[in-house]
Symmetry: C2
Subunit: 504 residues, 2 copies
């Protein structure tokens, strides 16, 4: 048999035994032989930012949509996310007279990504930065702080807005409201066990309903057909120690994660095994601003980032700055780990002026940090240093030098961006929190085309009926994701996937 007739044989054979190694062996099984328990137009897997955005757009485009979520509550990791959204061109930026542009944002993303990003994808996303912010406000009714504009590491200028309630729930809850309004069911405790790929593309999923995380095989088995397609928004795997240590053996169980326990790899593995193209799964980001004295994401990152990194400074226990506090997350997390490997702890420090923007941005949170012993306050730097085991003389010298940079609006040593509104660190009380990197975000994942369709690992062509968006996908952030760009990524490509799938 020659190749082409052999291929067409593989495609057309319906019943019985065809011998092949391909992941699309289900190709040999006719869809007619499958009994489906339920049928939808569009099945969305995952109920975070991306999944809910996809569901909303698919429904608005006329499709009959369902959202599947394995956990007992909706929102995935998004609902515990920090709630900061890159919004170049937004009113808050204008209020603070910050000059910014899509081009500058795009460049920042590519530089942090070590140019491992797909430039076309970055461009698609950046092009929608302002319209996405506006969509959340006008379509969803999301409320942001009207005056606060923040700057995460690796960004050239302050450009993120913060939800009023100070977390991703400020967006997710509005998305859930919209789903309710549109009549989109969110089916909780529904574990996707298999994605059904045949010669026709992806036709549906097999699930366990009533699944009790993390009990493998719990719940009732069911098969759900998707007439138009399945949209994969299953998120990352930062909480999955075995899989993440295969990708990067350094990220073992000794490191905590900011993620919820459901951020596991089973669908990363499943999509691999059915021949979906994946790349860059080993680029896994640690949030440098974690606090070791609480589990998971917690709240301590807020002071460490929003007060100290943006309006204060970071030092090691020798009292020296060791990294540009506004470098990208990988640079900062690596720098902290090097300090720790050399027996030094790392600290985030801000004074009474430095915590003011933080208090505006996250009202009440400073006290909560103090109550939980995540940060401590002192009348002098001497006391702070002594209590925390930091070299006091060196710390005072470091702060004095840093204050010189603030006055000159230039940090010649570490190249830290000096915010227009930064004041010298000299006004009591002085606050300090400890720094501990925690596994936070997986940059790689499914490779999709410009319609968010997942590509086949053997042909690089789109797989009919299979879409993806959000942390489950790669090529948007490349080597390193910048802070506050995750929500943008999820909303832009989630919406696009939903619309394209519904119209397919």
């Amino acid at each position: 048999m020659n190749t082409s007739s052999r291929r067409s044989f593989l495609k057309t054979s319906v019943a019985g035994a065809v011998f092949s190694s391909s992941g699309i062996l289900a190709a040999t099984v006719s869809a007619q032989t499958k009994k489906w328990d339920e049928t939808f137009d569009v099945i969305v897997v995952g109920s975070g930012f991306a999944g809910l955005a996809a569901a909303i757009e698919a429904k608005k485009a006329g499709a009959n949509v369902i959202v599947l979520e394995k956990m007992p509550t909706a929102g995935g990791n998004s609902i515990i996310n920090g709630g900061i959204l890159t919004a170049t061109g937004c009113p808050q930026q204008k209020k603070h007279n910050i000059e910014d542009s899509k081009e500058l944002l795009e460049k920042d993303i590519l530089v942090a990504g070590n140019y491992m990003n797909d430039v076309k994808k970055v461009h698609q996303m950046v092009d929608r930065v302002l319209s996405t912010y506006e969509w959340t406000v006008n379509e969803l009714g999301v409320e942001y702080l009207p005056d606060a504009i923040g700057q995460e590491g690796g960004h050239s200028v302050p450009r993120y807005v913060t939800t009023k309630i100070g977390s991703g729930a400020g967006i997710v809850n509005k998305q859930l409201d919209k789903c309710l309004e549109l009549g989109i069911p969110i089916r909780l405790r529904t574990y996707v066990d298999k994605i059904i790929r045949t010669a026709n593309g992806v036709e549906g999923v097999e699930v366990f309903e009533g699944y009790r995380f993390p009990k493998a095989g719990s719940g009732r088995h069911k098969s759900l057909k998707a007439n138009k397609g399945v949209i994969l928004c299953y998120g990352g795997f930062s909480a999955d120690v075995p899989y993440r240590t295969i990708q990067d053996p350094k990220l073992n169980a000794t490191l905590d994660t900011t993620n919820q326990p459901g951020a596991t790899s089973e669908l990363w593995r499943e999509t691999s095994s059915i021949g979906c193209l994946q790349a860059q799964n080993d680029w896994i980001q640690c949030g440098p601003w974690g606090n070791p004295h609480e589990k998971g994401m917690g709240i301590g990152w807020q002071f460490n980032q929003t007060a100290a990194a943006e309006y204060g400074l970071w030092t090691n226990s020798a009292g020296k700055r060791f990294v540009n506090e506004l470098a990208n997350r990988k640079v900062r997390a690596d720098a902290i780990m090097v300090e720790q490997a050399n027996g030094r702890k790392c600290f985030a420090i801000a004074d009474a002026n430095g915590v003011k923007p933080f208090e505006t941005q996250r009202p009440g949170m400073l006290n909560k940090h103090l109550e939980r012993n995540l940060i401590f306050k002192y009348d002098t730097l001497d006391e702070l240093a002594k209590a925390q085991g930091i070299d006091a003389e060196q710390l005072k010298q470091t702060v004095e030098e840093f204050n010189g940079y603030v006055k000159n609006k230039k940090d010649p040593v570490l190249g830290r961006y000096i915010n227009n509104e930064q004041l010298p660190v000299e006004t009591a009380p002085f606050y300090v929190g400890e720094l501990q990197p925690k596994v936070h975000h997986t940059m790689g994942g499914l490779i999709t085309d410009d319609k968010c369709m997942v590509l086949d690992v053997k042909t690089d062509k789109p797989i009919k009926g299979l879409y993806a968006a959000g942390e489950a996908t790669g090529h948007v952030h490349g080597a390193v994701r910048l802070g506050s760009v995750a929500i943008l990524d999820c909303l832009v490509f989630g919406r696009m996937a939903g619309e394209n799938c519904a119209k397919s």
Copy 2:
């Protein structure tokens, strides 16, 4: 049907349509229904260092072995490899009074690998460093230069030996002789199209015999059964522009490769699609020492590395050193690309003393470089600079500074290791070659256990009958492979895979 009975149904069903997405759908096809054209105990895919080492050990362990090679000649990329082998503890090192240890080699590998290596694998390899060198000498009869000991970037001390003929052919040809002696057939122009994975594991391969690279589907289709197993030694994909740009979009068609044209991805894609675990495929190394004035690996890298990096210096067209000439390959390649992005060319420079070790190590090659206009020689640094468009005053100052470091045995600026035998760069004639990174080696790949068995992407358990070694595998080198460790990797794990498969 509950989970466990469903699973056992999937496993035991023999004929007909089972509906599942798994890559091991062939599980549902009985091996008995397959007609095999030929049967062997062990099928080795690829005829480079690893494949031939596997075949030799499998045969010596009593197995009936065949080696499949898609290209019209044997040896893969190994035969055009530089022929340098890390050999800690070898006689050449002792002659030069170089102190070294397995522990130091292991540390160098982990540091360059950014600790993304599997430490157990590195340990397995390093433990066999001297015995592998001795095996090549005593078992294969490989001839190395008896006096030369070299140092590639990232190694703490000189520790590589060089084959007398100056390339990997010095080893591969001896392996091929051994195969002939043992009666192991090397079947050329045999393209592996499918790897047959069933519920029993991997049972064989489907091939096209008489394949004419790169014509897809050329040749006659045939199926080959492997009673004991298939050993995958199919190498890397540095010559495959579409696949490598998916892994790292920077490495596009504008970059040349050192690899032979057959270094393509089809079996990387095939193993993905049958559910083999892969990781770190996006870590792709450029050889920093390439020469832009010839295609492919060529010979110009020899002067750039062995003369200039080890006994001379590298500068940019501004006349300044820009990187530690003995940093690891990634650091050096990245540094050159940054210079180029800033409009500067990069050069490798050595004087009459600096080329002496090179002339010992690769007799006659210096003249060949000159004849091919890959390097040029001048009586003074002034003339060299003028002819090559380098800033002459700065170059002379740079060389003078460098010579100071040589005298003090310490480079305080870039931390370059100063070889005991390094002399100041001051004796005419002066030689210069240009530097151009070329895509060279893929660090990631199939993940194997301590017996070289390939793991399943869903379970992390070994797949019965499937082994792998060499560049097709990951976790040995992590982020960056050190120069001269590739052959060690291929021989250690190739031999191990062959022996384990034959005895399985």
